[in-house]
Each structure stands twice: as structure tokens, then as C-alpha cells.
Symmetry: C2
């Protein structure tokens, strides 16, 4: 096969995921053109073909995509109609628009799991707060907005009747509170030819308040059977969807050792950053391989790793200043990734640090150093 | 310490080394501005601040560098006068111009080794072919041009009297032919604060005809004592130079287990590419850390690796076409790096493939697959 480096590949979104995708694309001579509404998006100065445009606008997406051979995404909030139109005109749109559309609405996503025997927590649909009030007997539970939720926004834990007013007065779903042991994630890939493989299962530790991953361990410390079950569920989903690209599957490992799918994202994901340093192929390499119909890479663990999100410090908004870089750079095996965002605000994802270390004890100690020293202020 | 991501860092040269440096710089939010004479250089479409300019021209270099906080190089053929002027005006020029100047002339470089007790092969200076003729009794030997040699050009093995006419009729040196067991390289780094460390010693296997690295093993398969000696020599050189940045030291391991320095390069180097995948910190990360006066990173081996240069196939000149990418991408642990050069020509460096694998037998088998399948044609 002759590898065509002249393919026009467009990416909807120009954030940190696009930035790391771009770093991978450089390795195989593929120029990515990118679009983002923010002229200062993390990718804006890294490609000679950057378009400022609204990702949810039909015309903007259509016009951006029409000269592409392949169109992909790094964020799900994109105009589906334009993607479908482009697909009908022969542009390869991966992930396929119908899949992104399904995922955009958590209510439809949940129904997909039910229809396809994918294990997930029981739920009830709510159209407004009045509906929620009728479900007081199901509390405590988690209220999730159907459309528009992202990065912890659009998810509320409703502990009691008194908290119902903080729920969503819009189409949403109330999900049973799952008593889980761990939160896991599996990134699964599928190329055009139908080849499928999974990355090792990873384990996420969430910030108690802000519903963002605080740190992650790869591979997860779980039993072989749990691992196999988690990978099988991820494989089932991507195969049922016949999706091309990579799909991040977030899951709960329940107290009864069941796997329940929480949500999925059809793109590179926060739970796969550490693959750059820790695995033989990264999630970004793999996404490109999948959409370019190249053979999928070896996802095995090269070395155990941890990933710590670097969030904007609470109380600081403005031009980002990084404190403690020296201390972090002194940690053997620490790799800093800053996302090129000029402005910081409380809990904004400004970067991440991957730590590679064969010893779990040492990994955890190093995570603590990163968390206590690296601060993004203004 | 507050890390200043607004530093203006300029790079003289925009080739593949600059390209990989740029990929590293993205991780720490440092925008590199770059200059190269070729408007289609590998970095040309990857930075929003790319200048087309002659690196050997005083004005071009001076004008490019005058608004930089830090100026560095990815190639040695640069105008030294302009770099010295910029240094005198407060720009941090790393590596320092005096060092680059010394290295530009292999005759001066050799004298530096002699003056500083750095072991190197015995040599005699020649000004022209007449001088060379007088040295017939020293043949077979290696004739090296003083200035302008690069990538195998400027080096000729003169086996007998009859071959003298193929030597250089310009200032050069005739070096005794060293009966060596292995060719080794060590990349050594030094930051502004004077911190020094070395990467593991690597072992290069050269193409018998074209005098280019054919493949490389990291770490080298040598005795502990030989390793220590090689690292010590590299450390001695960078400390004597008080250089800031990274320095690649190419060496011979002689049949008598001596280390003799062949030549040095004050920049990221072909012998360090595999550090991207195989070491905890890459040579590119390390170069940035050194010139930005950040702590140096952990150079240890993460996993054994091999690096194979991908050269333009003999007999093909024109728009590059890559054959066999599929086969290479199927190799577990193979990472392809193409350099973004539109045009191929015989033996031009078009990319490299790094293979990571803990087993040496398996590494060597994979090297053979890469060499036999990946072809750059036109």
C-alpha cells in the first residue's frame, strides 16, 4: 500500500485534544486543518490551516468540511446536519455523524445501552423539575441533563428532596446512584477495515467536588476477570455502533463486581492522555490510524503510568502563570503537557502531567508532589 | 519559580530536528520561531512564525534573532558573527557561538581535543591534495574536510595512493584509520545552572557505503566500564566547553577498549531520536530544558529501543511516496516519524522508525522488517 500523505484531514475543534492529535499527525506527515470558535484555541498557532468558526453552525461546519477527504472531531458539540450532508457527498466522517448525534443526548445514549444489552445504571427520564419532584423516592440519585453537558457541567448529585430545585428544568434523566468500588475507563479503537482493539483498562480518581478526573492510574489495579469484562463491554459497544475511530468508555466497577457503563465519548479522551508516554501507541496515534484505515497499533503498557490533571487554581482568573514547574520537572519520569491556554479560571483544564514509573508506591508519591507543587494562577 | 511561557525562543534551522524540537516545545507552551532557507522546510507549516532566510547570512540571522530572548540552532552551518553580535546585545545564544564556530571546522575541533586531553584518533592537517600526496605512507586513512562537511559529505576513506585524487583539495585533515569494535554515541546535556547529565550510550551501525547511520541500538551492548568511560569523555567535553544545551558525542570503541572521540554536534542529533519513545525524557525535551534553564530530566532507559533511518531509495528523485507503511505499522512497538519533506532523492533522510522492545532478538528481527518493507520512492 502506498501511504498518501496528501490526504486532507479536517478536525472539528481546536482544543487540547486536537493539540495532542496534531503532535501525532506530525509523525506521519498528515497536515490537519482545524476549526474552533476561539481564535486563541490551543491549536490556533500550530497549523497553517486554522479556521475560526462556530462548530454548532451548519454553514460553518459544511464549508470547513467540504474540501476534506476525512473529517473528524475532538469535541462532540458539533453540527450533525452538516456532518451528515458532508458524509452524503463522499467525505469520510469519522466518527460517523449518527453516532455523535446519539452521544450528544445522554437520554438517547442511555436508551442505546438498554436496546443493546450494554450494562448501565437504571434510570428514569425527566422532562422538567416537576417530573423530578415525582421521583423523590429514588433519591439520592444523579440528575444528568440530556444535551449540552460537558466536563462536569450538566451532572448534579441530588441527595434529598430539598435539593431537587438544583436539578435541571430541561430534558434530563435521573440515574440510580451506583455504589461503586472504582471508576474505570477503556479506550477502544476500530478502523475502517473493522479491526478492533482496546487499551488497557485505566482507573480514575475523581475530585470530590468538581466531578473532574483528579488523577488516573494505568493500568487499573483490578482483577483479571474485571479487566476482561470491561474490555468486552467496550468492544461490544464499538462493534454494535460499527464506529470508526476511538471511543472512550467510562464505567463503574460496582461493589458486586459488575461493570456498568457511565458514558462514552467518540474521540481522544482525558482518560487516555497517559498513553503518550505509557503505552506502545498513544490514543492520538491510534485515532489517526483508525480514521486513515491504517493497521491499529499495539496498545500494551510500556510502563505503568499516572496522569494528573492540571486545573486552574480556585480564585484565579486571568493570564495563566505556572508555579512549581521546577519541582515537577525534577521528578524522574514526569512529563508536563500544557495546553497553550492563555487564560486560566477556576478548575479550567490547563494541562496534565503524566508520570511513568514501574513502582506503584513511587507513582503515588510522585502524584502527591505534582498535586502539591504545580499551581496555575493569574 | 514562575515558568514564563512568553519567552521568545528562536531556532536557526527548520529541518527534522527542529520539527521534533517543536513537538516537544508544544508540551511546555513555548512557541518557537524558526528560520530556514527552504520555504518548504519540515517546520514551515508548523509554526506561525516561520522566516525564510539564509542561515549563513549575517543580516538574516541578526534580524531573525534580535527580538529573541533565547536563540538556538538545529544545524551548525549558521552565521557565527551574527550570533556573537546577538549574544553581546543580551540574547542568550545556546549553544554559545564560540562553540559552534569551533565545531564548524573539523580541524579546530580536533585541536580542541588535543588541547584538552580528550582522546581522539591521531591526525595530520592537509591544506590541499599536494599535502595529501606526501602522506601516502599513512594510508589507508580517512580524509575529512575542515569546513562544510555534513551527513557523510566531506568524509572520504582513502585506501591507497591511487585514491588520493578523490581526497579534498581544500583545508582538511587525514585521520588514522581506527580499528574499532563499535561506533558509539553519548548525548550529554548541561543547563545554565551547570547541571550536567548524560543519556545512555547508544551503538550505531553504519551503512557500509553511504556513511550514514543505518540503525542504532539503545542502550549499547557494551561493558559497564566502557559505558562509564564513554559517559565520562562526553561529560569532560561539555564541562570544558561550559556549553549550554545538548551535545552529541560520536565515538569509536577501539579493539583495545579505548574510547576515541570522532566528532561532536551541539544540538539534537540523529543518534538521539529513539529517546522520544525509549527514555524518560527525550533529547528534544532535554535541549529545551537546558536552554530554558529548567532542571534536566531523567535520561534513563524506559525500554530498549532501536532506530532505523528511512532514506530515499536509490534511483528515485521527486515527490515522495511511502511504500510499506502498513507493514511497518503492524510491528508492535514501531513508531514512524516522517519528516515532512515533499521531495525525495537517493539516500536523503526522509524519516526514521523507532522500535521499542525489551528483547534484543525481537528488536533485531523488527529492524529487518522495517528495512525490507519501508521504501521511499517517487
Amino acid at each position: 500500500m502506498r501511504f498518501n500523505t496528501d490526504l486532507k484531514v479536517g478536525v472539528l475543534g481546536g482544543g487540547q485534544l486536537g493539540r495532542m492529535l496534531l503532535q501525532s499527525a506530525i509523525n506521519i506527515n498528515i497536515d490537519l486543518k482545524m476549526m474552533d470558535a476561539d481564535p486563541n484555541a490551543p491549536c490556533s498557532n500550530l497549523t497553517s490551516d486554522f479556521t475560526v468558526g462556530d462548530l454548532e453552525d451548519y454553514d460553518a461546519v459544511y464549508n470547513f468540511g467540504k474540501d476534506c477527504d476525512i473529517l473528524t472531531i475532538e469535541i462532540e458539540k458539533v453540527n450533525i446536519g452538516a456532518m451528515k450532508k458532508l458524509q452524503s457527498e463522499g467525505v469520510k466522517v469519522y466518527p460517523q455523524p449518527e453516532i455523535v448525534e446519539m452521544i450528544q443526548d445522554k437520554r438517547v445514549q442511555k436508551q442505546f445501552y438498554v436496546d443493546n444489552d450494554i450494562p448501565t445504571a437504571p434510570f428514569t427520564l425527566t422532562e422538567n423539575l416537576q417530573d423530578l419532584e415525582k421521583l423523590a423516592d429514588k433519591l439520592p440519585a444523579v440528575h444528568k441533563i440530556g444535551k449540552g453537558g460537558y466536563d462536569g457541567r450538566g451532572v448534579k448529585v441530588i441527595k434529598s428532596k430539598e435539593e431537587i430545585k438544583s436539578g435541571f428544568d430541561a430534558p434530563a434523566l435521573l440515574e440510580e446512584f451506583v455504589p461503586f468500588k472504582k471508576e474505570l475507563a477503556v479506550i477502544v479503537s476500530r478502523n475502517e477495515a473493522g479491526e478492533v482493539n482496546t487499551f488497557p483498562v485505566v482507573e480514575m480518581v475523581f475530585h470530590p467536588e468538581h466531578n473532574l478526573v483528579e488523577y488516573l492510574l494505568s493500568p487499573a489495579i483490578i482483577e483479571k476477570e474485571e479487566e476482561a469484562k470491561a474490555k468486552q463491554v467496550a468492544t461490544d459497544i464499538i462493534q454494535k455502533l460499527e464506529m470508526v475511530g476511538i471511543l472512550a468508555v467510562e464505567m463503574f466497577l460496582t461493589k458486586d463486581n459488575d461493570i456498568l457503563v457511565n458514558e462514552i465519548a467518540p474521540r481522544p479522551h482525558n482518560s487516555g492522555h497517559q498513553s503518550i508516554e505509557g503505552n506502545f501507541v498513544s490514543q492520538y496515534d491510534q485515532h489517526l490510524r483508525a480514521i486513515l484505515n491504517l493497521p491499529l497499533g499495539d496498545t500494551s503498557t510500556k510502563i505503568s503510568s499516572a496522569m494528573v490533571n492540571v486545573l486552574g487554581e480556585d480564585g484565579f482568573t486571568g493570564n495563566a502563570l505556572y508555579e512549581g514547574m521546577d519541582a515537577v520537572m525534577k521528578i524522574p519520569g514526569a512529563s508536563v503537557h500544557l495546553y497553550g491556554k492563555k487564560l486560566t479560571k477556576p478548575f479550567r483544564k490547563m494541562g496534565h502531567v503524566t508520570i511513568t514509573d514501574p513502582s506503584l508506591t513511587s507513582l503515588k508519591r510522585k502524584i502527591d508532589i505534582v498535586k502539591s507543587t504545580l499551581k496555575v494562577k493569574a
